[in-house]
Subunit: 215 residues, 2 copies
């Protein structure tokens, strides 16, 4: 990754990571990224789905959408992804914190126009959310591909930030009779809810869902 | 809430909500917001903690931090908060979706400089993360308050977006032998991990943590 002035962590520099492995791992565990652009001279941040393949991030949207129409002009963007991993309870209000994993990136997107590249990028988004699902479902038609814009963003100027562990209190506070520690926040998938309109012969859960529930 | 051109949902307008109750509910269920500003002419999106009190959002940070130093100049900002509530599995790749709850806001922040107002705003951030915790811990000192900047952002130009429910497939796809439905994504707190440096007499969990585990 390219470490630039704006992508270098200044506060708590030990939390900063600039290797692909860490960046990819964090990106692969989240669903929503927050895309920031300058729109009519003011900042605009929009949450949206994404996918990743190698060192590229893909976002997609309706061809007519404001965000897609702006991004295909290869304007500067910044993207943030973050997940809370736990609450950090200290003995003082001041030293409370959050355990988290985040990625912030800078760059410019590029519209993917080639039909086969588009299909591959959409498969990345699908695989990102539900590995194996792509092969189970009806593939996109030419019309559907036309209705979708895809922007590829290189993962070059990227910073990952991670905080783990318990609180770091002031020395003089350790004697206080206050419980301190971490409260992990955990995500899990609940029971699948079949579509009411489901009327196929097989009501068995597909392999993609079984794998997600196992993971 | 003030509905403006840029804060009005154009795609899937039925998902847009502009009432305080919905906006507050979504904000109160998340920890991290993504703050976008224009910095050196380019967009910059930074994830950070926040709190809310009434119709104000508070973010805080070290007095020397880049984001805080920019925001106290009352520049334009945009903030995005989003949570994945579940995956939506359709019969076609195209109609896959995400159930989510998001808030996007526009506005300008204002630095809080009055010591008592600062204390109240920090309490809002603390209450937002762990209700009741503020009263259990050592209060901020004057020095700690000085080391912290707090920006208040009015919740005026705000949009909430919510997607719920199962997939909406093309009519002709309902006959396909493909499982379709929702896979809810659920968050819960894990077992509290006491700080290794904990040596107080009482090792009982505090009321704030018990309440979070109950909620």
């Amino acid at each position: 990754m390219k470490k630039t002035k704006r992508s270098t962590v200044k506060r708590a520099p030990k939390r900063g990571h600039y290797d692909s492995e860490t960046v990819h791992k964090i990106l692969d565990q989240n669903h929503i990224c927050h895309v920031g652009i300058v729109y009519n001279g003011a900042p605009l941040v929009i949450p949206t789905l994404y996918g990743r393949s190698g060192n590229q991030l893909f976002i997609h949207g309706a061809s007519v959408s404001r965000l897609m129409t702006e991004l295909e002009q290869e304007i500067e963007l910044s993207i943030s992804v973050a997940k809370t991993k736990g609450l950090v309870l200290a003995r003082s209000a001041f030293h409370h914190s959050l355990n988290y994993e985040s990625v912030v990136l800078f760059g410019k997107g590029k519209s993917i126009t080639d039909t086969e590249e588009k299909r591959d990028a959409l498969k990345s988004v699908s695989d990102h959310l539900i590995p194996g699902r792509w092969e189970e479902v009806r593939q996109p038609t030419t019309k559907e591909l036309k209705a979708t814009k895809i922007i590829a963003i290189p993962l070059e100027e990227v910073t990952a930030k991670i905080r783990t562990g318990g609180p770091v209190d002031d020395k003089s506070d350790y004697k206080l009779d206050v419980w301190a520690g971490e409260l992990p926040l955990i995500e899990h998938y609940g029971s699948p809810i079949p579509d009411e309109n489901f009327d196929s012969k097989s009501k068995n859960l597909p392999q993609s869902v079984l794998s997600l529930l196992d993971s």
